[in-house]
C-alpha cells in the first residue's frame, strides 16, 4: 500500500514552511532597504521656502524684492485619459514637449507630484487658473522669485537660480537640496548666507493617491522656516541710474566711492542689462543669449577688466618718488621728447606742472631716480634694489591684488614683481631702460576700474583708504557689518606728500585736459588718461574726487575705444559728480554733448 507516502506529505509541509521562513528572513531581517522604500512611499517632504531677504539702496529704495510665481505640478497617476490635448493647449506645450515631460514625471513617480510647467508669472497663471480645476492630477506650487523693480545695477546684484550639482556637492552644513534657489553671482552670492534664511520642512504622510493623510510622527521632524535678513547697500540708486543713462551704448565702467568710508555709490558695468532677464522661467534662455552677446554684458568690467592705467599712474609715481626722497615738488626736469613722446606746449616743468601737463619725459626720469640710487655698483643690482622698494610702495595703494570688495570674482590687476623680470630676462639682465614704460602706466601694469576709483579716494584722503564695499547694514543695523570694512588701510606714502598732487589734479580740471570734469561751485581734482589700445581706438579714462578738501565722492570712469580721456570719461565723471553733489544737473549742454558724442561703439 501507499502508507509510506505520508512522509512525502510531511516533507512537503516542512519544506514549504522552511522555504517561507528562509525567504521571510531575507526580506524582513537581512534586507533593510524595504523599510526606507516603505517610508519613501508615504512620506511627502514639503519644503517651506524662506522669504529671501530684500536688498535696498542707501536711501531705503528697494532694489531686489520677491514676486510670486507658480509652478504647475502633475501627478501622472491622476491624469485622466483624453485630457492631454486640452492640457497641452492651456500650458502652451507642443506634443513632443508634452510627452517628454509626462514621461519624465512618470519615471519619477506615478503618484507623487513632479514639476510640469515651472515658474509661471502671475499674469500667465491668472489666465489659466480657472481651467486648472478640470484637471485632477494637477497641483499648483507657489514659488517666490526675485524681481528687480528698477532694472538697474546688473553688474553688482547678481542673480538667483536653482542650485547646481557642483554647489550641492560642496555644501557644508547649509542643508541645501536640489531645487533650492540660491544666489549664483554678485551680491546674491556674496551675502547668500544672510539673504537665504532658514528653510522649514514639513513631513506629511500620503496615501497611494498622493492624498495627505496627516503628519508624520506628530511633527517630530518638522522645522519652521525663518526669513532671510534684508541688507542695505551703499549704492545711491538715483546716481546709479543716471550713470547708467550716461553709459548707454558704451562699453566701460563707472565706479564712484565715498572716500571717507569706502562705500560704493555707483557701480556701472556697461553694457548692462535688465536683471529681470535672469529670473523666473526664461532665465536659462536669457542667460545663454547674454553669454553669446559679443559686447559681453556679463563681463563685470569694474572688477574684471584689467587695463593699463596710463597717465593716472603718474600721480602714484610722483608720490612714491617723493616718499623715496629722490624728488621734491620743486624738482624740474626737461621735457626731452627725443626719448619718449609727449604732448602739449611745455618744456621744463616742476612736479605740479608735470602732472598737470602729463609730461612723459618727466616721469620717465622720476622712475629712473627711484630705481637707480647707486646703492650698488652693479647697475642691474642697483635697479633691482630700487625696484623692490618701489614695488612695495605701489602695492600699498591697493594695486596688484584684489581690494577685497564684497563681490565675487574680483580681479587684482597686475604689478610685476622683480621675479617677473628675472624670469623673462634673467637675473641681473634687466635695468631701468628695460622697464621704463612702467613710468607712465604702460607696460606690464594692469589695474581694474575699482582700483582706479580707490586711487582717487586715496589721494582725496591724503594717503589712506577703506576697502570699497557695498554692504551698509543688515536688517537696518550694523551688528552684522563685516569689520574688515572699518579698517583704515594706510599707504606707504606720508600724507604730507599728497598736497602737491592734489593741487596738480585741481589744475587739471580747472585749466587742463580734464576741464569737462569740472562741477560748478566745487573744487574738483581729476586726472585724465588714455590707455593705448593696439586693437583699435584708445580707451578713455578719468579719475577724480570732489570737493578738493574733505571729498564726498571719488570716481573712475573708463570708456573703451573712445579716444582720449578728456572727451568721454571726464564729461561723464563731471556729470555724475554734479548729480551727487548738487542733486541735479544744471549743465544740460554737457549732458547733451555726452549723449550725442560720437563715441565709437
Amino acid at each position: 500500500m501507499s502508507d509510506n507516502r505520508k512522509y512525502f506529505f510531511l516533507a512537503l509541509t516542512v519544506l514549504t514552511g522552511l522555504v517561507f521562513i528562509a525567504r521571510l528572513s531575507i526580506l524582513q531581517v537581512f534586507d533593510s532597504t524595504y523599510r526606507s522604500e516603505a517610508e519613501n512611499n508615504i512620506i511627502q517632504r514639503n519644503i517651506e521656502f524662506p522669504f529671501r531677504g530684500l536688498i535696498k539702496d542707501r536711501k531705503g529704495k528697494i532694489l531686489v524684492e520677491n514676486m510670486p510665481s507658480y509652478t504647475i505640478q502633475v501627478v501622472p497617476g491622476q491624469l485622466k485619459k483624453g485630457q492631454d490635448q486640452s492640457l497641452m493647449k492651456w500650458l502652451e506645450l507642443d506634443e513632443q514637449d508634452y510627452n517628454e515631460k509626462i514621461q519624465k514625471a512618470r519615471s519619477f513617480s506615478y503618484y507623487k507630484a513632479s514639476d510640469f510647467a515651472p515658474l509661471l508669472p502671475q499674469d500667465e497663471f491668472s489666465r489659466i487658473q480657472d481651467h486648472l480645476v478640470d484637471f485632477e492630477g494637477l497641483r499648483v506650487k507657489p514659488i517666490l522669485r526675485r524681481s528687480y523693480p528698477h532694472q538697474s545695477l546688473s553688474g553688482a546684484l547678481g542673480y538667483v537660480a536653482e542650485i547646481d550639482k557642483e554647489r550641492l556637492a560642496k555644501d557644508k552644513g547649509q542643508g541645501y537640496r536640489q531645487g533650492d534657489m540660491v544666489g549664483i553671482s554678485g551680491l546674491e552670492l556674496e551675502y547668500e548666507d544672510i539673504l537665504f534664511g532658514k528653510k522649514g520642512v514639513k513631513y506629511e504622510m500620503v496615501n497611494v493617491k498622493g492624498e495627505v493623510q496627516g503628519s508624520f510622527k506628530d511633527y517630530e521632524f518638522d522645522t519652521v522656516a525663518y526669513p532671510g535678513h534684508d541688507i542695505s547697500i551703499s549704492i545711491d540708486l538715483e546716481l546709479q541710474q543716471y550713470a547708467e543713462y550716461l553709459m548707454q551704448g558704451r562699453r566701460g565702467s563707472v565706479v564712484a566711492l565715498e572716500p571717507s568710508s569706502g562705500e560704493i555709490l555707483t557701480f556701472v558695468s556697461a553694457p548692462y542689462y535688465d536683471p529681470n532677464l535672469l529670473t523666473g522661467r526664461d532665465l536659462g534662455e536669457n542667460f545663454v543669449s547674454l553669454t553669446q552677446d559679443t559686447t559681453k554684458p556679463l563681463f563685470n568690467r569694474p572688477l574684471m577688466a584689467a587695463y593699463p592705467p596710463g597717465s593716472i599712474f603718474k600721480m602714484v609715481q610722483a608720490l612714491v618718488a617723493m616718499q623715496t626722497g629722490v624728488i621734491t615738488p620743486a624738482t624740474r626736469i626737461r621735457c626731452n621728447r627725443n626719448i619718449i613722446a609727449c604732448h602739449g606746449a611745455h618744456t621744463n616743468e616742476d612736479l605740479q606742472g608735470a602732472i598737470q601737463y602729463s609730461c612723459n619725459p618727466y616721469f620717465r626720469q622720476v622712475l629712473r631716480y627711484v630705481l637707480n640710487q647707486n646703492v650698488s655698483e652693479n647697475t642691474y643690482e642697483d635697479t633691482r634694489i630700487g625696484f623692490d622698494s618701489w614695488y612695495e610702495k605701489i602695492r600699498s595703494f591697493g594695486f596688484g591684488e584684489p581690494l577685497g570688495i564684497d563681490l565675487p570674482n574680483e580681479k587684482g590687476g597686475y604689478i610685476p614683481p622683480s621675479s617677473y623680470y628675472d624670469k623673462i630676462y634673467g637675473r641681473n639682465r634687466w635695468k631701468f631702460s628695460t622697464i621704463y614704460s612702467l613710468a607712465i602706466g604702460q607696460g606690464e601694469i594692469l589695474v581694474v576700474p575699482i582700483q582706479m576709483a580707490n586711487l582717487a579716494a586715496i589721494i582725496g584722503n591724503r594717503g589712506h583708504y577703506y576697502r570699497p564695499h557695498f554692504i551698509k547694514a543688515v536688517d537696518g543695523s550694523e551688528e552684522m557689518f563685516p569689520p574688515e570694512y572699518r579698517e583704515r588701510q594706510v599707504t606707504a606714502v606720508d600724507s604730507g606728500y599728497f598736497q602737491v598732487v592734489v593741487d596738480a589734479m585741481e589744475k587739471v580740471v580747472e585749466s587742463g585736459t580734464g576741464f569737462r570734469g569740472a562741477v560748478p561751485g566745487y573744487a574738483v581734482c581729476g586726472k585724465t588718461g588714455t590707455a593705448e589700445n593696439p586693437h583699435g581706438e584708445d580707451h578713455s579714462v578719468f579719475i577724480a574726487f570732489a570737493p578738493k578738501d574733505d571729498p564726498q565722492i571719488a570716481i573712475s570712469v573708463y570708456v573703451e575705444n573712445s579716444g582720449q580721456g578728456a572727451r568721454a570719461a571726464a564729461g561723464i565723471a563731471g556729470l555724475v559728480m554734479e548729480k551727487y553733489l548738487n542733486g541735479e544737473i544744471k549743465r544740460q549742454y554737457l549732458e547733451d554733448y555726452i549723449m550725442k558724442g560720437d563715441f565709437i561703439y
Binding site: 506529505f9 514549504t16 526580506l27 524582513q28 523599510r35 508615504i42 504622510m205 500620503v206 496615501n207
Partner: protein, 424 residues
C-alpha cells in the same frame, strides 16, 4: 458512555484550537487591513469588513455545532447530491451571476455575495471520497483514473469559464490525493518535470530549451549505448519534453490572456515594470520587508493603511501580518499553518475508511495549496494568483467552505471507531 458525550470527547480539540487561533487573528488582521488612521473604528462594527467577518465566524461556529450533532453518515449518503447541486450552481452562476473584477463567479443576494466556486471545493472533496471508497476502485486503473479526472475536471472547467483561473487552479491540488491513494509516482515526476519545463521555457525561450534538450538527449544516448530499450525510452522522453516546451510557448503566447502573461512575466522579473504590472509584487514585498523583525505594531502598517497594497483584506492579507507583526508574527503564522497541516496528515492517516482518508487528504491538499500559493505570491516566490489564505482572508464563502471541510473531517474523525466501511 452515552453517545452525545462521546462526540465532544473524541473530537480533535487541538485542531479546533488552531482553527480558532487562525480565524480570530484573521479577523483582527482584516481589521488592521481596512483600518484608517484618524477615525475611530471598531472591529465589531458590522458595516466594516472586520465586523462582517465576525458574522461569518459566528455562522461557522453554528455550522460546527450542526455538523457535530447530525448523523455522520449523511456526508457519505449525500456526497453526490451535494456535488451535482454545486455543479448546477456553477452553471447557473455563469448565466445569472454578477461580475466582480472580471470574474463571473458571484451570486448577489441582497447585501451578501456568495461564490459557488468556493463551495465546489467542499463538494468535490466529498464526491471524490465517495468515488474512492467504492469497492474495486483502483486509481491505477485507467477507467477509474478517468472517472476521477472527470469529477475534478467538471468544476475546474466551469470555474475557468467564469474567468477565475486562480480558483480553478486549486483543483490541481487533488492530484496529491491521487498520489496518496496509490497513483504511480511517475505521474508526480511528470508533473514536476512539466512544471520545470514550463518555467525553463518562459525564462530561457524556445531555442535555448531545444538546445538543452538536444544536449541531454546526446548525453543520454552516450550513457546507454548498450541498452537499446533505455535508448528508446530516453529518446521518447526527450521528444515528449520537446512537445511540452513547444506547447508551453504556444500556450503562453496564444492561450493566456495578456494580464496572465503579465503576471508570469512580472514574477520572473519583478523590476521590469514596478509601477505597472509589477506593482503588486513590488509593494507587497516592500510591505512585508519593511516590517522588519518585530513589525511596525498592530494598526501601524503604512503600506496597508495608505492603500499601497491592492486586495489587502482578502488575497494580500499576509502583507498586513508581515508589515505589522514582522518576522516574528509571520513565523508564528507559518508555524500555525504547519501544525494544522501536520495534524491533518495525522488525522487522515488514522482514518479507518477510504472515505475518511480521502477526505482528510483533500482537506490537507486544498489548505496546503492555498497557503503555499497565497503566501508564496506575496513574497515573490509565486506568480500572482488570486486565491485567499484559508481561515484568514476576508470572505464568507471561503471561510464557510474551509470550515465545512475541516468540521466534516473532524466529525468523521470523532466517529472513526464506529465507522463501518471499506478499510483501506
Amino acid at each position: 458512555m452515552n453517545r452525545r458525550e462521546s462526540i465532544w470527547e473524541s473530537l480533535d480539540w487541538l485542531t479546533i484550537l488552531i482553527y480558532l487561533m487562525l480565524v480570530l487573528t484573521g479577523w483582527l488582521t482584516i481589521h488592521a487591513a481596512i483600518y484608517e488612521a484618524d477615525s475611530a473604528m471598531s472591529p465589531f462594527d458590522l458595516d466594516l469588513r472586520s465586523g462582517k467577518q465576525l458574522i461569518w465566524i459566528v455562522i461557522s461556529f453554528v455550522l460546527f455545532v450542526l455538523i457535530m450533532v447530525i448523523d455522520y453518515k449523511v456526508f457519505m449518503t449525500f456526497s453526490y447530491p451535494i456535488y451535482f447541486l454545486t455543479i448546477g450552481l456553477l452553471v447557473v452562476v455563469l448565466l445569472l451571476g454578477t461580475e466582480v473584477s472580471g470574474s463571473k463567479s458571484w451570486f448577489a443576494l441582497g447585501g451578501i455575495k456568495i461564490q459557488p466556486s468556493e463551495f465546489a471545493k467542499y463538494a468535490t472533496a466529498l464526491a471524490l471520497a465517495k468515488v474512492f471508497s467504492a469497492l474495486n476502485f483502483d486509481i491505477r486503473k485507467p477507467k477509474d483514473f478517468i472517472k476521477t479526472g472527470l469529477l475534478i475536471g467538471a468544476p475546474f472547467g466551469l470555474i475557468i469559464l467564469q474567468g477565475d483561473t486562480g480558483s480553478a487552479l486549486v483543483f490541481v491540488a487533488f492530484s496529491l490525493v491521487f498520489f496518496r491513494e496509490g497513483l504511480s509516482a511517475i505521474f508526480i515526476f511528470i508533473g514536476v518535470a512539466s512544471f520545470l519545463l514550463f518555467l525553463g521555457t518562459l525564462l530561457l525561450g524556445l531555442n535555448y530549451m531545444f538546445a538543452a534538450l538536444a544536449g541531454l538527449l546526446a548525453l543520454g544516448i552516450l550513457f546507454s549505448l548498450k541498452s537499446r530499450r533505455r535508448m528508446i525510452f530516453i529518446s521518447a522522453g526527450t521528444i515528449a519534453a520537446a512537445a511540452i516546451v513547444f506547447s508551453v510557448d504556444f500556450f503562453f503566447n496564444n492561450i493566456l490572456k495578456p494580464h496572465q502573461q503579465n503576471r508570469i512575466q512580472v514574477f520572473l522579473n519583478p523590476n521590469a515594470d514596478p509601477t505597472g504590472a509589477g506593482w503588486q509584487v513590488t509593494q507587497s514585498k516592500i510591505a512585508i520587508g519593511s516590517g522588519g523583525f518585530w513589525g511596525k505594531g498592530y494598526l501601524k502598517g503604512t503600506q496597508t493603511k495608505f492603500d499601497f497594497i491592492p486586495d489587502q483584506s482578502t488575497d494580500n492579507i499576509f502583507c498586513t501580518i508581515g508589515e505589522e507583526m514582522g518576522f516574528i508574527g509571520s513565523f508564528v503564522l507559518i508555524v500555525l499553518f504547519s501544525l494544522l497541516l501536520f495534524r491533518l496528515i495525522i488525522i487522515a492517516e488514522r482514518q479507518r475508511t477510504v472515505f475518511g482518508r480521502v477526505l482528510g487528504y483533500s482537506v490537507f491538499s486544498l489548505i496546503l495549496f492555498h497557503y503555499s500559493v497565497n503566501i508564496g505570491m506575496t513574497i515573490g516566490l509565486f506568480p500572482v494568483v488570486g486565491i485567499p489564505l484559508p481561515f484568514f482572508s476576508y470572505g464568507g464563502s471561503a471561510l464557510i467552505s474551509f470550515s465545512l471541510l475541516l468540521f466534516t473531517l473532524l466529525k468523521l474523525d470523532a466517529h472513526r471507531m464506529q465507522v463501518l466501511g471499506r478499510v483501506g
